[in-house]
Structure formats: C-alpha cells, structure tokens
C-alpha cells in the first residue's frame, strides 16, 4: 500500500524536469548552434588525424567513450572514485551546484535588494562585497579547506561565496536602476511598504537578477568541478583528477564533453525561464526570438 501511494505521488514530480530538459534541448538545438558544433567537430577531427591520440583523441572516440562511461566506467574504481561511472559523479556535482546556487542566490539577492533600499546597510555591506568581487575566488579555497576540511562542505561554500557576490552585485544594480517614479506613483495609489516590495521592487528587478543568475550558474559549474580537484572523493572534478593522473586523454575529454553538454542545457533552461518570467520586458524577451 505504501509503495503504491509513493509511486502515485512521485509520478507528477518526474514530469517537470523531463519537460524542462526537453525545452532546454530544443533551445540548444537551434540551427546556428548546430552549425557551430559541426564546424567545431570538423576542426577537431582534422587536428586529431594529424596529432597522436594521447594529445588529441578523435571526436568519435570521445563520444563513444562518453556513451560507455556514462553508466559504467570500471577503470575509475581502481583509482578510488566511490562510484565507477560518470552518471553518479555528475549527479554529485550537480547536487552541489544546485544547493550552492540556491543558498548563494538567496543570500545575494536579499542582501543586494536590502542594500539598494537602505543606505545604512549599503554603507556596511558594499565595501565587503566589492572587495570580495575583486578577489580571485580560488584564493579563498585554502581557507575553506582549513575551516571545513576536504569534504563536500568546502566545495559548496566556495561556490556559495561566488554566487552570493555575483547576485549581490546584480540585485543591487537592478534595484538602483528602477526609476523612483514607480514607487512614488504606487504610494499615491495607496500601496504599503510591503506591497511596494512585492509588486514593484521584485518584478522590476527580476529580468536583471535572472540574467545574473544565469551567469552565476555557468560559473558555478566550473568552480564546483575545480574545487573538487582539491581532494574530493566524488564528483566530476575528482573524475578529471583521476583520469589526468592516468593520462587518459580520451576519458578527460569525454568528461569535459559531458560537463559542456550539461552547461549548455542548463543555460538554455535558464534562458527559457528568463523569457517566461520577464515577458513584459521587450529587451530580454526578444533576445531569443
């Protein structure tokens, strides 16, 4: 009985990611992008026929390797990767990215909006964020390793830090760009402070904040993978580290290809979300038409 209810409940949940994936794929497959990919593959093919396979394996080998390794890559288990396949490691990395982006975005957006509205808060937070924004993010990595060890927490904190700074800057700029006339008009119509935040500040800043989120998301993938190079036991970064140790160029390129594909699909989904949520804004919504 419990299993029945469980599957019934799970069913509608599965539909959404699948549909999102389909939208992402559709957007990723537009003709110009495809043409770019074909050119890229041809150049790659040409170069690989001249160079040795250790330096540049041919694209079809890499794709074939990705196909087999995705579900089962026994060689990885020799090097101490917990799950010997790309699928589980990708999931681990994706989970960290999602957690970090969610937390970082929440902190960054709230801090940015609050600091745009209250000059006292701005005076306090701005210097910190501006400085943090100019520091190369990986400089913080050693400290995080000292504080949180080599586990998951370090990598996630690094990405949270990065996402927070980016979204703070975007949210703050978005809020200061909103013309004061809207708030004045709303106040003469009888809007309360809470209504001004919910009905004006948030919708007015959504397009720019989503733009920032898209940039943060793209960076977060790379940063998460890089921070996994620093002693994680799982994740795409760990896989890459292990394969590099074994000078397995084909495996490395297969993993990179997978990361690239995921990044493209995620970005396309984010672009689609921007279009949906900011359809009032011609500048953003026509961008992809």
């Amino acid at each position: 009985m419990t299993t029945v209810t469980a599957t019934v409940k799970a069913a509608p949940r599965r539909v959404r990611p699948l549909r999102l994936f389909a939208y992402g794929l559709a957007a990723a497959l537009d003709p110009l992008r495809l043409a770019g990919l074909v050119v890229f593959a041809l150049i790659w093919e040409g170069l690989s026929s001249v160079l040795s396979t250790i330096i540049l394996p041919p694209p079809q080998n890499v794709v074939a390797r990705l196909w087999t390794d995705f579900l089962d890559a026994p060689s990885l288990s020799y090097y101490g990767v917990a799950n010997p396949n790309l699928y589980a490691n990708l999931l681990y990395t994706a989970e960290n990215v999602v957690i970090a982006v969610a937390i970082g975005a929440a902190i960054g957006i709230v801090a940015g909006l609050v600091s745009a509205r209250f000059s006292l808060v701005r005076a306090i937070i701005n210097p910190v964020m501006m400085t943090a924004g100019t520091v190369p993010i990986l400089i913080a990595a050693p400290f995080l390793l000292i504080w949180f060890g080599v586990g998951r927490l370090s990598a996630v904190c690094l990405v949270i830090f990065y996402v927070t700074v980016i979204l703070y800057l975007f949210a703050q700029r978005a809020a200061s760009n909103v013309s004061p006339i809207y708030e004045e008009f709303a106040r003469t119509l009888g809007a309360s402070q809470r209504q001004i935040v919910v009905d004006l500040l948030i919708p007015a800043t959504v397009p720019e904040i989503l733009g920032g989120l898209r940039i943060a998301l793209a960076g977060a993938w790379g940063l998460e993978a890089v921070s996994e190079l620093l002693g994680s036991q799982e994740g795409m970064g760990k896989v890459l580290e292990v394969l590099a140790g074994a000078t397995d160029s084909e495996g490395i390129m297969a993993s990179l290809l997978l990361l690239g594909l995921v990044a493209i699909i995620v970005d396309a989904i984010a672009g689609w979300a921007v279009k949906r949520l900011a359809s009032w804004n011609a500048g953003l919504s026509s961008e992809r038409n």
Binding site: I181, Y182, E184, F185, A186, R187, T188, L189, G190, A191, S192, Q195, D199, L200, P203, A204, V206, A278, S279, W280, N281, A282
Partner: protein, 274 residues
C-alpha cells in the same frame, strides 16, 4: 452656514520650497504661495517652464515636504502620499511589468477591493479613456499618448477626491488632446455638480486652461501672480473661446506669460513667416 458654498478641500498657507542644486546654489521653486480651493472645483495652473508647478503638486501629493508653510487637504494636514489624492505624473509612471488592466486596478488591489469588483471598475475607466481593446497588452506595446490614458484611468479608478494632473496632454496630437479633454470633463462631471472631484490641472496651453477651468492660477518663478475665475458656462466649445469674457482672460494670461502683442494680428503674421 450657506448651502451654496462648497467646503474647502485644499488650503495652502505661505508654502515655500527651496532646493539646493549640486553646485551649491539655492533655488526657490515655490515662494510664499497661499490659496484655498473649494471641493469640486476644476483649477488650472499655468506658467512658464520651471516656475514650480510640478514642485507644488508634489508637495500637495505628499511626496515632497515644504520648506515652510502648511498644506491641508480635506481638513487633514498633508504628511505623506495617500489614495485620497491621485496624481497623473508628468513623466511616465505606468508599471511596465503589469498588463494594462492590472495597472488600472492596482490602487484598488492595494486597498483590498475584491478581484471581480475591481476588475469591473478598472474596465469601466479603461473604456472611458478608449483603451478597452488593449486591456491585456503590456505597456511597452502602447504609444506615449496611450500610456498617459492608462495613467489617467488608473488614477480615476482609484477614486481619490482630489486629482492632480501634471501636463497630462502635453505630448498628444491635437485631436487626441481634445478627445481626452472631453473624457476628463465627463469623468469629472459624471454624477453631476454635487459629487464632482477637485481637480488641479497643470498645463502650458492657454486655450486648454480656458476650455477646462473654473479658475486659472498663474505662476511665475515660484510666485502665484494671478488667480482668475472663469465663469463661462459649460459645456464649452471652440466658439466659447471667442466670447469677449474669454478673450479678456486670454489677453491677461498672455500678458503674464510675456506675450503681450501675441494676441493681436502681428502674432498671426509671425506664424506665417515662420
């Protein structure tokens, strides 16, 4: 208490406002202005650009504090903005992220009017300003004049007893401008003289002031320099502007604006040359 005198709606007593410019100089935008406006009166403010008309409206709206003096609206001192005083701003203020109909009902929504009721009200006013065909459009899809009409519908739908309009028709073509003047007068006059709202209407256009106003106040560099009653009966037509009484007022207004000889034939000649 006589019954034919309307209660005072707006009262300004020695109101002043100065600004400090970025270069450190002080500008007196409004200088020692006092007047009383009874409920239901249609008042036009005229005066050259920069004479303080918008500043005065902002203070009445409660968005700007006077440097000195008192402002009382409906027996309450003005301490901040409120839905009892609607403002159609000189600049565009329609929210770009709400559809036209949502813009028009926004004020009602803020005050908790039930959805069906406020939609009904919003729709009525949208129809009055001739925009019912674009109720689901985004503001970016409308022209400048249409946006002004959305703002007017929004402010009227909100039901404030005092309405302030800052050069609402300045950017419109001749025909639309005259249509909207009629719309405005109809909205103002909808339920007869006893229930009229109080209107303060800023304009540069002398003829517009003459055809709309019960009373015209003239401003020059922050000072109120004249206060003229326009007693010509309504509805007024273009011919009403030719009545001797109107011509007399127009001559006075042009004199205040520094255009003494413009009322005569030489003005026509000038135009022909230009």
């Amino acid at each position: 208490m006589s019954t034919n005198v309307a209660p005072r709606m707006i009262e300004l007593v020695h109101v002043e406002r100065s600004f400090r410019r970025a270069d450190g100089t002080d500008v007196k935008a409004v200088n020692d202005v006092s007047f009383v406006i009874p409920e239901g009166e249609f008042v036009c403010l005229v005066g050259p650009s920069g004479c303080g008309k918008s500043t005065l409206l902002q203070m009445l709206a409660g968005l700007l504090e006077p440097s000195d003096g008192d402002i009382v609206v409906g027996n309450k001192p003005v301490t901040g903005p409120g839905p009892d005083r609607g403002v159609v701003f000189q600049k565009d203020s329609v929210f770009p992220w709400m559809r036209v109909i949502d813009n028009v009902e926004y004020g009602l929504k803020c005050r908790g009017v039930p959805a069906a009721e406020r939609r009904e009200i919003a729709w009525t006013y949208l129809k009055h300003v001739g925009l019912s065909h674009v109720e689901r459009a985004w503001p970016r899809e409308l022209s400048g004049g249409m946006l002004k009409r959305v703002a007017i519908a929004t402010v009227f739908a909100n039901g404030g007893r005092v309405l302030m309009l800052d050069e609402p028709f300045g950017a419109l073509d001749y025909v639309t401008r005259h249509q909207l003047q009629d719309v405005l007068l109809n909205l103002w006059n909808a339920d007869g003289a006893g229930t009229r709202r109080t209107v303060i209407f800023v304009t540069h256009d002398v003829d517009e002031a003459l055809s709309l106003a019960d009373r015209i106040m003239v401003f020059r560099s922050g000072n109120k320099v004249d206060d003229i009653a326009v007693k010509v009966s309504r509805p007024r037509t273009t011919d009403s502007l030719l009545l001797p009484e109107m011509v007399e007022i127009k001559r006075k207004l042009l004199h205040h604006l520094g255009l003494d000889h413009a009322a005569g034939l030489d003005a026509v000649a000038d135009e022909a040359v230009a």
